[in-house]
Amino acid sequence: MSSVFFMLTMGLYFVSTVCYLAYLLRRAETLSKVSLGITAVGFATHTIALVARMTDTAQAPLPTFHEALSFFSWMLILVFLAVEFRRQLHVLGSFIVPLALVSLVTAAAFRSDEASSLQPVFKTLWVHVTLSMLGTVGFAVAFIAGVMYLIQDGLLKSKRFNVLYAKLPALDYLDHLNQQSIVMGFPLLTLGIISGAFSAEIVRGTYVNWNPEQTWAMVTWGFYFAVLVGRLTIGWRAKRAAYLTIIGFAGVILTLIGVVLKSHGSVS
């Protein structure tokens, strides 16, 4: 049953992405309502899919890469709906929903219907995965806020007062969103890494073994630590912060790719 809802969700997010992208180009606001409606329905089916998957496999939510990505996508939409609800920031949908769709499609590519047969000891891993994923959601939102910041900054600098200019919010709000996302994402990632280290200790008897994936994770962590400290102490905000968070998210993506390659390597 979960697969039906999963496919349905993917379809809805796809339609919603198309609507939200069209919304960027058009003056009328009505499209945003349509898109929001579709996204909300998609979010509901997504929730059902996730819950169904959990009960199907009778396992904690995030044992596999597929579930982790699906959960990531779900969290992104949740954050979007929360921001939209509070700030009526329709244009955010034009950026977040496509990202959620991409991660869901990627999740679909890694879907396997049999429950993963992890040893009991591995099951503590879900804590690590959940926390890391929540941290990643924070960085993803920071990334999107950064992209929106750079676009609006560019439009203002070049004095192109187009439809996009009208729809994007004030620069300082985007900077604030960027900061908030990192402030929330960073501690979660930190906890994710610590719990990962504990899991590794249980499984392999060592906390860290500096494989490429772990190295990247530590580099990412250090990077965001610097971004956060830089902002608070020496004014790494505004445009610089936007650039930094975009670079940082690229690091996160590389780490994830590393995880995928590793898990594939271990399977074959």
Partner: protein, 468 residues
């Protein structure tokens, strides 16, 4: 019975004429009672703002009514005569008069299309007319409808959303950089008119901290008092830069007062907090080399003008949508007005009672099949007699009151008492909510009879100026 408007506006008359015609609030009451004392004038409403003076009236005879209202207008000022006024006046009746009011209320006829003051002014004028009983059934309905049309235009189009003055464009831009202006500090360097206006707009939009510096410190002090701000010595303006989120420069200096180095230094001190610089001076006072500096956003007078021009185009596009709404709404109201004619009401009343009688007679005769044909005729005659006697009084009253001032009210009442809503469609007065009105049957009704859609945008010096 005719609804008419006679008046003049910024489009037809120069200010010298308008100011003579303008009726001060204290004399409105007297003017209204004078208007209604003219023979043949049933209802009246006087709209007097500094951009227009218009009389809306319900009159018995069209030509005579025009004449009376024109006479009334000429009488408002000693130095005016009818001949004087004629070239500046416009006259509309029926759908065109109603359409005109709708357009005026929706700010489609305003000097600054989309400005919102006119609606308040119409509400006030209506209030006065109501308290002095100058406005009756027809005008009440029409003005209420005009107000609801104006609100519909406001919510369904973006006609009022954009800045159409240079000083307001500065505020609009500021809001794309700072989401909340209340915590922001404005630094005013020099005090040109436009800069002062922009500062006033910024304050109206929440800015609380204003710092002012002018070459003449005394002048700066006076301004500071006016804006509830702080005056700073002119020599210090460069050090003040770092503390300012919004910098407004307009001095008569012929060189760059603010250089790229100054801004770079300020940005370092501000730790990259964005800074919005507006240069309203000609020649420019801020070096254009400031533009590429990160997180500093410089706009000069041309940029602001460009923004205003774009907004103007947007407004025109929205105005076209609004004109369409007006046409629709006039058609809806036109149906109601039509229903207030006496003759169709009497016809409708007759056919309604005839139909009722027919139904009841048929019903009873079907049950009394044993009756002879004479008896049947007697039953039918009885029914006819009762029905005719019942409605006789109504018919007579309707005919008698047709020409009186309350004729329309009688028609309206008769329609409601006898439930004559079906043909033609009637909307009870007071039901101003557009959403409840069906929008079928409106095509072609009154369309094209509106005053020629004047989408011409009029330039104005400043939007901030009060219209009245």
């Amino acid at each position: 019975m005719h609804v008419i408007v006679v008046g003049l506006s910024h489009k037809t008359a120069p200010v010298e004429i308008r100011e003579k015609l303008a009726v001060p609030e204290s004399r409105l009451r007297e003017a209204l009672s004078r208007l209604c004392s003219y023979p043949g004038v049933r209802e009246g409403l006087l709209l007097s703002t500094c951009n227009r003076v218009e009389v809306y009236a319900v009159v018995e005879e069209l030509e005579a009514g025009y004449g009376r209202v024109q006479e009334f207008l000429a009488d408002t000022h000693l130095s005016l005569s009818s001949e004087h006024l004629t070239p500046h006046l416009y006259w509309h009746a029926g759908d065109r008069a109603i359409g005109h009011l709708f357009r005026v209320a929706s700010s489609l006829d305003s000097m600054i299309v989309g400005e919102s003051q006119i609606l308040g002014q119409i509400k006030d004028a209506f209030e006065v007319a109501l308290t002095h009983k100058a406005s009756g059934l027809l005008l009440n309905k029409i003005v209420k409808k005009a107000i609801s049309v104006a609100k519909r235009v406001r919510t369904e189009t973006k006609i009022a959303e954009t800045a159409v003055s240079v000083s307001y464009a500065a505020v609009e831009l500021a809001k794309k950089i700072f989401s909340n202006l209340t915590e922001k500090t404005v630094l005013l360097i020099g005090a040109g008119e436009m800069a002062k206006l922009a500062a006033r707009h910024l304050i109206a939009n929440g800015v609380r901290q204003v710092r002012i510096t002018t070459r003449n410190f005394q002048h700066g002090l006076e301004l500071a008092q006016r804006f509830n701000g702080t005056a700073v010595p002119f020599e210090d303006y460069k050090t003040e830069l770092a503390g300012a989120d919004i910098v407004l420069v307009s001095t008569g200096a012929s060189h760059y007062l603010v250089t790229a180095d100054d801004v770079q230094r300020a940005m370092r001190q501000r730790m990259s907090r964005p800074m919005f610089l507006i240069d309203i001076s000609v020649p420019r006072n801020i070096d254009p080399a400031v533009r590429p500096i990160d997180d500093a956003f410089l706009f000069d007078i041309d940029d602001l003008h460009m923004r205003v021009e774009q907004n103007r185009e947007d407004r025109l596009r929205e105005a076209a949508k609004a004109e369409q709404m007006v046409v629709e709404e006039v058609a809806v109201l036109g149906q109601w007005l039509q229903s207030l004619e006496v003759t169709p009401t009497i016809v409708a009343l007759r056919s309604r009672t005839e139909e009722l009688k027919r139904r009841e007679v048929d019903k009873i005769l079907a049950r009394l099949a044993h009756l002879s044909s004479e008896d049947r005729a007697a039953v039918e005659a009885l029914a006819s007699a009762i029905v005719n006697k019942m409605v006789h009084g109504t018919m007579v009253t309707l005919k008698a009151e047709a020409k009186s001032s309350s004729g329309a009210a009688y028609v309206d009442a008769a329609r409601r008492f006898f439930n004559l809503e079906e043909t033609p469609a009637v909307y009870p007065p007071g039901q101003a909510d557009v959403s409840e009105l069906p929008d079928e049957n409106i095509a072609g009704n009154g369309v094209g009879r509106l005053p020629e859609a004047s989408l011409v945008q009029h330039t104005s010096k400043e939007q901030g100026r009060r219209v009245s």
